[in-house]
């Protein structure tokens, strides 16, 4: 897994490439926390390049969302493939996150 971070207007966009799983989830978590500590408040994680997220990866997203909300910010998600949508629905995390169909939709809805 690798990820790119860029700023689009006021939104910090994180592109995740590869699988977000137990062996690498802490890298993403720490990077987002660093951005949060640096003052960023609006986050979009783009999963266009992500095939799979395991329960540990889902847990990191839940944890980050909570920490970002505590700082008055928001974490949104975009571009989940069919399998990822299924996992979010099964775990009911689709009720917890704002999930956009694509990046533009997510950015304009902030």
């Amino acid at each position: 897994m690798s990820f790119d971070v860029q700023r689009v207007d006021s939104v910090t966009v994180i592109d995740v490439k590869g699988q977000l799983i137990v062996g690498n989830r802490q890298e993403l978590k720490q990077r987002v926390l660093d951005e949060l500590e640096g003052g960023a408040r609006r986050f979009l994680v783009d999963f266009a390049g992500t095939g799979y997220i395991d329960s540990s990866g889902l847990g990191v997203l839940v944890s980050l969302s909570k920490k970002i909300r505590e700082q008055g910010g928001e974490l949104r998600l975009a571009n989940l493939n069919e399998d990822l949508r299924t996992l979010f629905e099964l775990t009911k995390l689709d009720t917890l996150f704002h999930i956009a169909n694509n990046r533009d939709e997510a950015l304009t809805s902030f």
Partner: protein, 153 residues
């Protein structure tokens, strides 16, 4: 990476012993999916159901069973057929009580960072059973033309 595969395939059966190393999980899961593809298993059920079941079972075995102890091993017994895949994942821990695992989708639990792995296994594998000690999980995935959601429990 020291996976040290101890494969012996005979009539679709195989065993594998892994060190407690989270980096081995993705490698093993991908090779199991490939094995399923080679016998004509529904690719949707391999890509999601088998991946979830095996990934979560191995993660639980290493993190909570073996408590990240690199000297402890995780054993996989797998039986592949065109009709079903049966997998047993065993760790060297003291076991746990699977009955006491809370539902992670309730309003009280949904904001918790942990506790979704066993739920996901149960949702996506067709049969899930733990041994009495609680350190081995047996999972069955049935082949079929349907979508990725398990069609039995």
């Amino acid at each position: 990476m020291d996976v040290e595969p101890d494969w012996f395939a005979m009539a679709g059966n195989l065993t594998l012993e892994l060190p407690t190393d989270l980096r081995t999980i993705e490698i093993v899961v991908e090779s199991m999916i490939e094995r399923g593809r080679n016998i004509g298993f529904n690719p949707d059920r391999l890509r999601l159901n088998l991946r979830v079941g095996l990934t979560e079972a191995l993660t639980n075995a290493m993190l909570y069973g073996n408590r990240k102890d690199p000297d402890k091993r995780v054993r996989i017994l797998a039986q592949f057929s065109p009709h079903e895949i049966n997998i047993v994942v065993t760790d060297e821990g003291h076991g746990f009580d699977p009955v006491g695992v809370p539902d992670p989708t309730t309003p009280v639990n949904i904001r918790r960072a942990r506790g979704r792995g066993i739920f996901m296994i149960r949702q996506l594998m067709d049969h899930v059973e733990y041994n009495a000690r609680g350190n081995a999980v047996t999972m069955k995935l049935i082949n079929g033309p349907g979508g990725p959601i398990a069609h039995a429990s």
